[in-house]
């Protein structure tokens, strides 16, 4: 197996960087940190993974889920100790483009949203998607079609999305 070189890392980041951040932001607000750690993890690999893109999405997913669990644990601890004001504090606002896309994806079910990001912006095959999310290929396809139907239904009652 050939080693991981700088060209591969740069290519993966250029091709999938923004999509990986969007993918991780489904679970955590520290999406960029998860992506950076995943890229560094790829650099540390002795040999090139069979499918570097799918490997990156899987590592980002695991890290984002771990971050989410840690944040939930921390939040539970804070909520028992902190005041009501602390619980109601506002997060930093996202850029407008990010809000639009996140709002759109936020209307989908969690499983479907993940598969849409992997398929549309990640460009993964159905087998790779099934491998990343830990389900079957037909299940992933079913979720995807349902998500598209839901989006079509939403867009029928709204103006077309901005490009």
């Amino acid at each position: 197996m050939p080693p991981v070189d700088a060209t591969l890392i740069a290519e993966m980041f250029d091709r999938h960087g923004a999509a990986l951040v969007l993918y991780a932001s489904q679970w955590t607000t520290a999406a960029e940190d998860c992506v950076q750690e995943a890229v560094l993890e790829l650099a540390r690999q002795r040999s090139r993974p069979d499918n570097p893109a799918a490997w990156l999405y899987r590592v980002v997913r695991n890290r984002a889920l771990n971050t989410l669990r840690s944040a939930q644990r921390r939040q539970r601890r804070e909520e028992t100790a902190a005041s009501e004001h602390w619980r109601r504090r506002q997060r930093a606002p996202d850029p407008q483009s990010s809000i639009e896309l996140k709002e759109l994806l936020g209307r989908l079910a969690a499983d479907a949203r993940e598969i849409v990001v992997l398929r549309v912006w990640g460009g993964l095959s159905w087998d790779e998607i099934a491998d990343v999310v830990g389900g079957s290929r037909s299940g992933a396809q079913r979720h995807y079609v349902q998500a598209l139907e839901q989006l079509r239904h939403l867009w029928e009652h709204q103006p077309c999305p901005k490009k």
Binding site: V4, A18, R44, V145, P161
Partner: protein, 162 residues
């Protein structure tokens, strides 16, 4: 069996619309990330190939800490860079002092090179960590002698001729 699914036309259009939606800009510094990835790869390579034995790898890993991480809290200038800058400044000051001292020592006897010599203790901004000994700079103000030896000799000759 084909891997792809056949989407109805309206869902395919919906998929195309979604794909055309611009992704939010990624806020990650690409150059910094690739630089750090290079360091991580180098450290992993050293650890994997075992070019250094046992604890030597850990020691080397500490030595090969990324310069970005080293100088993070001091404007991105690492400790080694700062030491090199201080040594350069100290060496330059020492060389200048030696040059001035040599010039003064080798001047012709009876012919003053300079009528005034002022020594000023200056503390340049870049020499914060350099000792005061090396930050001492000599400033020589060269002034023409009021009576040049040639003219004085000519005047003496004229007097003796008269």
């Amino acid at each position: 069996m084909s891997q792809e699914i056949r989407l109805p036309a309206e869902l395919a259009a919906c998929e195309a619309l979604l794909a055309a939606h611009a992704l939010p800009a990624c806020g990650i510094d690409r150059d910094s990330l690739l630089y750090r990835a290079g360091w991580e790869a180098a450290l992993a390579h050293i650890g994997a190939t075992g070019q250094c034995a046992g604890g030597e790898t850990d020691r080397l890993a500490g030595t090969l800490e990324s310069p970005l991480a080293k100088g993070r809290d001091r404007g991105g200038i690492s400790r080694s860079t700062r030491a090199a800058m201080a040594w350069s400044a100290a060496s330059a000051a020492l060389a200048a002092s030696i040059a001035v001292a040599a010039t003064l020592a080798l001047r012709p006897p009876g012919r003053p090179f300079a009528s005034r010599c002022r020594v000023l203790a200056l503390k340049p901004a870049c020499c914060g960590s350099v000792s005061r000994r090396w930050s001492m700079c000599l400033t020589i103000t060269a002034v023409r002698p009021r009576r040049r030896p040639v003219r004085a000799a000519a005047r003496r000759l004229r007097r003796s001729a008269n």
